[in-house]
Symmetry: C2
Subunit: 425 residues, 2 copies
């Protein structure tokens, strides 16, 4: 079995180890929650200060031009695009993931209806265990269009893709189980059934290789504050295949959040909306400059990873870390108390491992957090551990499992203070 010394050796020999220097991981913390909120990059603080003090403070309104603020949604969008198989100009950073999903789903339905298809009675299909916000947004849109939202299990695919499906909306990597869809195969099956596919990359972008164009995907959205390390509530991104955005030059085809910065010429201040070209019409309101600066600092770390092998190398390390964690837990004396719900097969797994504990998942996680081992809990029973290869070491994985064993063997999770539910779990 792998020893702690083995892990130290693996870290010493790891060519990606130096990427950890790009982050500020607090002393005494083993952070396995980068799938919820990424760690603070070392460059972020100065970048944000520069934007606040210099660009805003001194430049004031002039900085929309002189500091290039107006270009941030596309500039950062392109940097994210490079991580997800998008070409330059195809990705925009804007708003929150939920808002972008609303735009993308709405736009997908416009495309679906383009050939004269009557959407009433057709379906949006998604996974029952998809992240709830995706389901809430999809349900809202389905109601608007007289459609139904049908929730299935991942195993029901591709069988559930009947002729009534207008849009299939999936999160590439499931937030609970970490199970990952085969994007190209699912997209192909959906297209064969006459459906479009909207992908949520919240747990994929920056974590696993994604090739939106290679998979022939239709629309995608994703999150800036998880594996992209953009900071709490960072702006999200949205992508659409050029075959759709080109088609959408027809003014009849719109996403409904037609805000002024998605206009072809916002500073003409015309009363009629004229959508910008390509993906630019998916921008809505004024870009959140300070948040964008933080996000860009997070995304820029991936540029440093490029010469070390980029996403492919990060993926290899992520699989190694996750495999190691699963192996160590299952070889530990507490193994019988936990059930792995994440696929053992790394080819269908994101960058996390989730274990179910029927009675006390919440309290066990709280006890771990009190020890500085930070994962999270997802009701009703999941302990979720994310492995961000940018800053997680093999020895962190080893120590985290040791803490888990100690928490269980000592019974310290039974302490009442670990059972009081916080507002955010």
């Amino acid at each position: 079995m792998t020893t702690r010394d083995d892990c130290l050796r693996l870290d010493r020999d790891d060519p990606l180890a130096r990427l950890r220097d790009h982050f500020i991981v607090p002393d005494g913390v083993i952070y396995l929650d980068g799938n919820s909120l990424g760690v603070l990059p070392r460059a972020t603080s100065a970048r944000v200060q520069q934007v606040v003090q210099e660009e805003w403070g001194r430049g004031l309104i002039r900085s929309w031009n002189t500091a290039g603020w107006i270009h941030l949604p596309q500039r950062i969008g392109d940097k994210i695009g490079a991580l997800i198989g998008a070409r330059p100009g195809e990705t925009m950073v804007a708003d929150a993931t939920s808002v972008n999903l609303y735009k993308a789903l709405s736009a997908a339905l416009t495309v679906a209806a383009h050939g004269g298809r009557d959407l009433r009675g057709t379906k949006i299909v998604s996974e029952r265990s998809n992240f709830p916000t995706d389901l809430y947004i999809a349900d809202s849109i389905a109601q608007q269009h007289g459609m139904t939202l049908e929730l299935i299990e991942a195993d029901d695919l591709p069988g559930a893709l009947d002729a009534d499906v207008a849009v299939l909306m999936l999160t590439h990597v499931n937030y609970r189980t970490g199970r990952m869809h085969d994007m190209a195969a699912v997209t192909h099956a959906a297209h064969a059934a006459g459906a479009l596919v909207v992908w949520d990359l919240a747990h994929s972008a920056g974590a696993v290789p994604v090739d939106l164009n290679g998979a022939d995907a239709d629309f995608a959205v994703g999150c800036g504050y998880k594996y992209l390390n953009g900071g709490p509530g960072a702006p999200a991104f949205v992508w659409a295949h050029p075959r759709h955005t080109a088609r959408m030059d027809d003014a009849q085809l719109r996403q409904p959040l037609s805000g002024w910065l998605g206009h072809a010429a916002p500073f003409e201040f015309t009363p009629e909306y004229r959508p910008g070209s390509g993906i630019s019409r998916f921008v809505c309101g004024t870009p959140p400059v300070i948040s964008l600066a933080a996000l860009e600092a997070g995304v820029d770390v991936f540029a440093a990873a490029g010469p070390l092998g980029g996403i492919a190398a990060l993926r290899t390390k992520s699989i190694a870390l996750t495999d190691l964690f699963i192996r160590l837990v299952e070889a530990s004396p507490v193994a019988p108390q936990f059930t792995l719900v994440t696929p053992r097969d790394s080819s269908i797994r994101g960058s996390q491992a989730s274990f179910a504990h029927a009675e006390a998942g919440y309290a066990i996680m709280q006890a771990l957090i009190a020890r500085g081992v930070i994962g999270d809990f997802r009701a009703p029973d999941l302990l979720r551990f994310g492995f961000t290869p940018l800053y997680t070491r093999h020895v962190d994985v080893f120590d985290a499992v040791r803490h888990l064993v100690e928490v269980m063997e000592s019974g310290e999770w039974k302490d009442a203070r670990f059972h009081a539910r916080a507002a955010v779990t």
Copy 2:
């Protein structure tokens, strides 16, 4: 006529003058564009750093609870609410103004349809010279519901309020002319005609007294980066009268951006959307914490203004500054070249003055900006000057007019460099 010494004396005797110390106005700049992007408050930089370095950097995911991140949308919403006649718990900070307008207009239509009214063929009415994003969003929603968007002139009110009007959507203070509607009277007239009213407070919140409850308004949205000094692209806010949000406890009544953080219990992660109580359902995605921190620092300056008379005292000063500017321009040798488009009557005016110059408005503004007098230009012909009483001095007004006269008399605005259009005007 008022002399520069008079202005210095007015500033010396101004009890609000010390509020300028809460801001960092760059040396050599006379900033008359706080109606577009407010000046950096002195406290913002440290506040943002604290959130980035301590709350995010050290607290990481735990800060959602320990630093109260989850409460920011309501906490800051309540602080803004105090400036606009909202009671605690009625206002939320979220998303961009355009996005919030989409929610508010959609919700208003749900309310309008509640009694069984068929919305098809009915109208959303707004002003032709309303800020374009408002019109784009309203048009999008009107199309969704088989309604029409009818654009009128301000003078057409209240006559345009016929029985077919479902919603009247107005910006309280016009972004071009600075003309201000009588919120209570217009709301009353709209209600009498069977219409609901959605107010955009982008140029009102923090600039003029607003009493949403006193005016019996229905819905309101507003902007964080203008008079609230929240920073470029700061999050916006949304308000709804409790008679509507109470009614909306009926799950049939929704705003369509039903994201997870508007759910009654987001961390139960249930697949079905159950809207939160009151205004909380107008939150959609994960709150943008870093931007919210900057916004809160901006809004907190108004607390310091409270003991000095608050919004009422600020309004008195704003009127004095704007009157002074108009008077000095019109008494100057260049007066014949400019036409005032802002109401002379301060009771129907916001906190700005706009002058039209038929041929060269853009170049004149560029020449002023080159001298450090920063206003902005709105196509096709408006020079727009905003007077933020928190940090603008009487002597700034005097000097700005002197620069305007010099720019015109010297002819320096004819220089080619002032005619090249920037991306953002």
